[in-house]
Symmetry: C2
Subunit: 264 residues, 2 copies
Amino acid sequence: MKYFVLLSMVLFATYCTPVQQHSFEDGIWIDLTYSYSDETLYWPTSDTWQFDTVFVGQTDGGFYYEAFKFSTAEHGGTHLDAPIHFSEGKQTVDELTIDQLSGYAVVIDVSEPVSGNRDYQILPEDVQAWEIAHGSVPAGSILLFHTGMGAYWPDAQQYLGTTLRGAEGVANLSFPGIHPDLAQWLVDNRNIKAVGLDTPSLDYGKSTLYETHQILFANNIPGFENVANLELLPTLGAYIIALPMKIKDGSGAPLRIVANIPTE
Amino acid sequence: MKYFVLLSMVLFATYCTPVQQHSFEDGIWIDLTYSYSDETLYWPTSDTWQFDTVFVGQTDGGFYYEAFKFSTAEHGGTHLDAPIHFSEGKQTVDELTIDQLSGYAVVIDVSEPVSGNRDYQILPEDVQAWEIAHGSVPAGSILLFHTGMGAYWPDAQQYLGTTLRGAEGVANLSFPGIHPDLAQWLVDNRNIKAVGLDTPSLDYGKSTLYETHQILFANNIPGFENVANLELLPTLGAYIIALPMKIKDGSGAPLRIVANIPTE
């Protein structure tokens, strides 16, 4: 009897240890992507969304048909920044692997300091405080910061800090971002696949040297910008799949980013 | 003792039953997407890929930077057809859910009849023959047809049947597709989420009424066209995630479609 109990315990421990991973079909999907439309926000110096009708209506053949064409800058709306965007010779959009663009998320809420300062830069201390509660950011994580700015989308004045366009618009940008010290700390101390947040840029709006971009991209860590619905994610357990439009030699691309969340 | 054995068996059966599903991280990813580039193939009447440099090089700020912009028709390269493309009032690109665009694939190889006739139309009999070997197409499947035409990409003459553009190009299209009888049979008899194949269109190249599009889209079954690398998929067991660029009111969109294949 004693051996049987022991054997049962060993078998149970071996085969029934609850795993962090969940299967593709036992969770629910959450779309973290804004639609492209006339409302889509772009960098003040960037070309914006243009959507043109090719045909809409009944054809001579007697059937209904509609089709459109569009143009856009790479870096607007919910989009990917490929490392080459700020780091010569590094990965282009089409060179990023699906492995690098998918994985379990760590979602860190920094909406509290941001609520008091929309030019807040997220610090190593913010991640370290999260780690005291939840443990070290696991290797292979996709690190997402919830700043709360997503609540303002697509109001340019509130989200970007300005409705001005061109150089004057850039000079008036005001939104939070990732401090270069945190970018460097992550590169030196943690092994993350990618970084994303609910603002227009990895660097804060007042940045002029975009050092966070430079540091992360030099280390082939891509970025996801203008990510939607981060308030719907748990701090741990969401599986992210971030699939950019596959643009050869692209420095960035429209991104469809989704999360799968276990239901139990 | 007897009760303990019984209890152990019940516990084992309850918690340790092997499932068909595999988790997100125990498989390998296969990209089923062609890159957008000057080589990307489009319908002969369609605008093609245009990729323009915004900036590439060292900035006055002393850091490297590159960015591009682009324009394209919705329906070129590896792309999604939303139901509204041929069916008034049906789902647009942004209305399709991730649930509808993800699921286990059934991959049916029809390269043998196509090798003898590049204008072959895939018939109910082709699916029925597959079902004799593998069982009924499971509810919720994503149905993919491997015609073998992908081997010709991006050679327009071989893949489309013509290098001509405009109406003359359309008149000379020659490639296989899904027979309207099969589209109707699938709608009437099976419950599939979406259909995809390695040709430019769900209907064969010589179609003028695009009846397969009409039938599937009237039933809110979207299509994936110019899907790459189908020869790398098993006939069962691949999990598909097909994420289109999220275009509000779009009739179609560039599609990043990937498969996760269990490694054991």
